[in-house]
């Protein structure tokens, strides 16, 4: 699905990188532990997280994630948005809690990072 569809499903607000909403998203992961993101995520995935500091952006840059969605209505600080914009990484923000956000996306066909081989 496209990032725009992800946005619709999560009733999310685009915080940065609105011009990248047509990118294709196939997998997602939910984590607040950046080491887990480093260890288990797949490049091109969208990350759902409750953390909003700049290290989330740096972590995503390392493993080439496609986008980040902050859950439970957490608005990322200015610094985070700025770094994401510089990296060309789209940021979303949803009011849904982590579990529900993940559930909605999974229910609509988005797969996890350990699925689909590759």
């Amino acid at each position: 699905m496209t990032l725009e569809e992800v946005c619709d499903i999560l009733e999310a607000e685009v915080v940065a990188g609105g011009n990248l909403c047509d990118i294709e998203i196939r997998t997602a992961c939910g984590a607040d532990l950046m080491s887990d993101v480093l260890a288990f995520s797949k490049s091109g995935a969208v990350l759902l997280t409750g953390l909003t500091n700049v290290h989330v952006i740096r972590t995503c840059e390392m493993v080439e994630l496609a986008a980040i969605c902050f859950v439970r209505g957490k608005r990322p600080p200015e610094e985070t948005v700025r770094l994401a914009a510089a990296d060309g990484l789209p940021l979303l923000m949803t009011g849904l809690p982590m579990f529900e956000a993940c559930g909605r996306l999974y229910g609509r066909g988005l797969r996890g990072c350990s699925e689909n081989g590759r």
Binding site: D32, L33, S35, N53, R58, M62
Partner: protein, 312 residues
């Protein structure tokens, strides 16, 4: 002095020859074929005009326009010879494309016969605007592919081009301790550099993960240190070194989930005891040396061989 920017397409129409893009398999018609049969010929071949050949000689061009004119005139049926265009704009095989484009523009014609330079009645092919466009697009695609291959190669022959008995490129980054704001920035720079050197994406990713975790360790636990990537034709060594405080129990530190990180670090999404295990998991060989009060030296080796050329 006004500078005119020449586009790639403009450059191409000067460089390319008519012969490169023209259609060689030409459908032709004899001059004695009646006009009433023309519609069928055009429709069958899905064309809007064709050269008229008398034996082997090019004598004219007949098009849909001529046919419509014939209909409008309500003229009697007769041989194509009577209605065809005889004064022809022609081009030669070795003419630059720009000449043909100019002729299309000036005359409004849909097609130009391509003839032998020494014998203007000898038909070699036909050139339509569609041929020109298709030819340009194909050339662009080929150029694009070659450019891709060239870039790819430049990256890959980097080490093959370096003539030495032993080659190593060392990239060193100084990491400040306790400066969480900048943490990760060195790994970011290392990663971009490896990309530019043409290291395969899979290897870059593995090195980036290891380097990021190592950098976090330097920031969180030490008063600073260095991160070094030593790139050799066969291996890539990632080394993180600091001068204290050292790891009390290395075996424990290597256990996933074992952590001595303070809470503030955990709140930032790190310090869950996955750092060293992650580094170990992403590299091919892992070595760590530590002495309390003296410091820690961590070396992660990545075997380049196949991976370096891996572009998947």
């Amino acid at each position: 002095m006004p500078s005119t920017r020449i586009t790639k397409t403009q450059e191409m129409v000067y460089e390319m020859k008519v012969g490169e893009v023209m259609t060689r398999q030409v459908i032709t018609v004899r001059p004695d074929v009646p006009m009433s049969r023309l519609r069928g010929i055009l429709r069958q071949n899905r064309i809007s005009g064709l050269p008229v050949l008398d034996g082997q000689r090019l004598v004219g061009l007949i098009s849909l326009e001529d046919f419509i004119k014939w209909l409008a005139d309500r003229a009697e049926d007769g041989p194509i010879r009577q209605r065809m265009t005889q004064h022809l704009e022609k081009v030669s095989e070795d003419d630059p494309l720009v000449l043909a484009v100019g002729k299309f523009d000036k005359s409004g014609l849909g097609r130009l016969p391509v003839v032998d330079r020494n014998d203007p009645t000898k038909l070699l092919g036909i050139l339509t605007k569609g041929d020109v466009i298709e030819g340009l697009l194909k050339k662009l695609e080929i150029d694009y592919q070659q450019e891709q291959i060239r870039r790819h190669r430049t990256a890959h022959v980097f080490f093959e081009d370096v003539q030495a008995d032993r080659t190593a490129l060392v990239l060193q980054y100084d990491v400040k301790g306790q400066d969480f704001g900048q943490a990760g920035a060195s790994s970011s720079r290392l990663k971009q550099t490896l990309h530019r050197l043409g290291v395969g994406p899979n290897l870059v990713r593995r090195v980036a993960i290891a380097s990021f975790e190592a950098e976090m360790n330097l920031v969180v636990f030490t008063s600073g240190g260095t991160l070094r990537a030593k790139i050799q034709p066969e291996t890539l060594l990632l080394e993180a070194a600091d001068s204290g405080p050292g790891i009390a129990d290395i075996a424990c530190a290597l256990e996933p989930g074992y952590s001595t990180a303070p809470d503030w670090v955990r709140e930032l999404g790190f310090g869950a005891g996955m750092g060293l295990p992650n580094i170990r998991k992403s590299c091919d060989r892992f070595e760590i040396d530590s002495a309390l009060g003296k410091g820690t030296r961590l070396t992660a080796s990545f075997f380049v061989n196949e991976n370096f050329h891996d572009i998947s």
